[in-house]
Each structure stands twice: as C-alpha cells, then as structure tokens.
Amino acid sequence: MVVERPDHQRIVITGVGLTAPNGNSLSEFRQGLLSGRSGVVPYETRYFGATVAGVCNFDEVKHQTRKELRRGTRAGSVGIFCAHEAVADAGLDWENIDRSAVGIYVGVTEHGNVETENEIYQLKGYDYDIQYWSHYHNPRTVANNPAGEISLNMGITGPHYTLGAACAAGNAGIIQGVQMLRLGDCDLALAGGVSESIHTFGIFASFHSQGALARHDDPTKASRPFDADRNGIVVAEGGCMYVLERLVDARARGARIYGEVLGYAMNSDAADFVLPHPGRQAECIRLALRRAGLNAEDVDIVSTHATGTTSGDAQEAEALRRVWGGNGRPLLNNTKSFIGHAMGAAGALELAGNLPAFEDHVCHPTINLDRLDPQCKLPGLVANEPREMAKAEVILNNSFGMLGINSVVIVGKL
C-alpha cells in the first residue's frame, strides 16, 4: 500500500533532459538501451594515454553562446543542456515562470579536478609562474559551479547548489529536489546529476592504480557488470536533469507525468573508504521501500548500480538477495553496461532510461553479460535482450558511492 500523501506533498517528474554517451534525448537513449547500442569508445587522455570512455556528443551551442562555453566548465555545459531540454520536455511556459521559485539541485561525484588539472598543465608552459594562473580558476572550481552555470544561463534566481555524493549523486540531486518541493523552498525543481569526469586524467589513473579500470580490445564490451570477465569501471561523462513538481501543480497545468517519486533513502556504510557494504545497501533499499509504503515484491524493475568491478558487483548482488531473496520478482538491469559509469549523472541517467517502461512495459537489459559470475547470480537479471513485462508500475533505482554513501529512489507509475 503506497503511503498516502496530500497532493501538494506528492512529487512528480514532468520533464527529462539528458545527454548520455548513446543518446541526447530520452527517446534516443531509450532506443539505444533497447537495441543494445553502446556509447563506449576508444579514448585518450593526458598522461594516461589510450583507454576507453563513455563520451557525449551533444550540441553545446544549442543553449549556450560560444563565450559562455569558453568561460564555463564542461559540467556546467552538460547541466545547461540538460536543464533546457528538461524544461522544454516538460512543456512549461518558461517565459512566464516565476524563476525565483525554481530550485536547481545538481548531483556531482566531484568537481574542479578537470579545471585544476588543465590550469596546472597550462601553467607548466609558463614554468609554473603563477602570474599566468587563470582568474577563472575559482569560479570554475567552486563546488556549486555546474548548478550556478545553469542559474546564470537560464536566469533562475531561486536556490542553486550541487550535492557532492560520489556516485550516489544523481539520486541525491533528485532526492534534494523532492525534499525542497515538500518544504516549500521552491515550486519547481530542476534536479539530477552531471559528470565531466572523463576530462580529468586523475580519475582514470586512480581507478587504474586501484585495479578498477576496465580494459577490453572492443570498447563496447569493456563495461560488463555481473559478467565473470568484468575487470573494472568504464568512466563516462553525461548528465540528466528532471523537472520535478508537486502533483497538484502538474495536474493544474495538464502536464504529462512520467511518474511519481514514491520513496527514497540515503545512508552510510561507515565501514570502508572504497569497498561497498551489502548490509548497509540492503538497509537503504528497505528504508526507501518503507517510506514508500511498499513491500519488496511490489517493485517491478531494479535499476542496479553495479559498475563492473569484481567486488562491487558481487556486493550489490548480495544486498539484492538480502532484500528479495530467491524471489523471481523484480526484473533487474544495468545501464552502465551500455554507457559506462557516468559518475554524478549515473543515478539520474539510469532512472531515466527505465522510466519509459511504464508505457512500453519493456525492461531494458544489461548487455555484455556473456558469462554470468555465479556470485552475481540473481533471479530476474535481464541479460542482453529486452524483456516484456506483464506489469511495470514501480522502479527502484540504486546508486552507491565511495566513502560508503548509498542512495535509493523509487518511482511509481501514476
């Protein structure tokens, strides 16, 4: 039984704007997920050299001037593109919206590494003479930058900030939007997550040093969560921003509603710097279910977080078994197998790719699952081919991150 809330406390998704390595709109992205199209390509980065990555190819000057593009950050640019696309998708009368009542909540895994690395690299060309250090360093690297660039570009004067939540950040952005709407802090939330991480060599080098960076002769096969031959993470860039509104407002303007955020939870492992903790992950899932007033068997699709690391995938599988046991419900999939790990955008993108299931009753698969790791054996795992579903009414979206940060968002069909 779903928790009963008054309409002004019920928060719904009315717009989606995204850029993923395999699509620049929800329909393109969904089509890619249903047809098995990967967005992982050969990639080369400073110092690190040849590797693979999920690379986005959106029209940067669709919503930004060339001057804004030059001045700003890639994360800001991704955020601006996604926010504009979300607002357009929501069918809002943007020119007449009270922009002081719009809140911007952007999840980021990290911010500032790309800019700092670039500036130090350039400074090297001037023999580290700091007279040549950019006056843009601070505004580019402040943690609110991606959200702030959206605010500047779109003339939004309500609150804006980022949520630093490692790879749980995409969900964290959505959760913050829901909370702020319920508190009355804003009347419309632009919420989600962005990532520019492929533009820092440090993230590749650090995963490599940790033994957690994927490699494969065929880039499209490098990201293989739950597969016995997985060997690490494919780093990706991307973004996904949602328009969130109170149900009462969405209905009043006759908005198309993608779904309702029924529940959410965040918790902490308090256990290890990098290794996940199945017990805490399971607690996070159960807490989100309880808040939504749902039982585990009410969930139709679980969008897993699994990144393709040896231990992480097995740990999540263990968490899922603790919640669902050997129960064949729900179906499970994984978006990173297509696009890699879009870091701060991952949670938001992975939810988005599943939302159309409410309409088409199809669960997209996890690809590159050629030889299932017995440790990751889960009933309901949809391997390589999409699966039709009798019922698609509840999606549960996992997103976990380093330092032991867990997030779960549950969205229901309205």
Partner: protein, 86 residues
Amino acid sequence: MTADEIRQSVIEILGDIAPDEDLSNLQEDVPFREQLPLDSMDFLDIVMELRKRYRIQIPEENYNELASMTSTVRYLEPRMKDIAKK
C-alpha cells in the same frame, strides 16, 4: 610591433574573448565595454592574454589605459615596439 600590428593583436584577443560578437565595426575611440558585452572577468582576459602572448606586464593602476582601442594602442605601442609580431 607597429601600432597596426598591436591593433590587430588586440582584435584577435577580443575575438577569442567575445567569439559571438562582430568586431568589424569596432569604434576606435569608444570604450570596449560600451560596444561589447564584456564584464570585469573578460577585461582581465585581455590583460592575461597580453601577458601570455607578449609577456607584457600591465600594472593594475594602468588598466584604465585599456578602455578603448585608441587608448590601448597608445599605451602599448612604446611597450611593445621591440616585440615581434606573433
């Protein structure tokens, strides 16, 4: 560099800083910021680019000399006369 070469270099720098603007009708005696959408950070870009490209150091108290093309060229000409065009 000659006055014309300096002027051309400043145009190139402005072109990089304000890539969306048409600089063909730039008026020499009118302050840049009255003709182009330049803010204080853009202005600092002009100073930084001159430093990077020509190793010219412009003290903060002289920033007002860079207000218009005429004043900029007048200020830079004696300081850049021994610098080769890049």
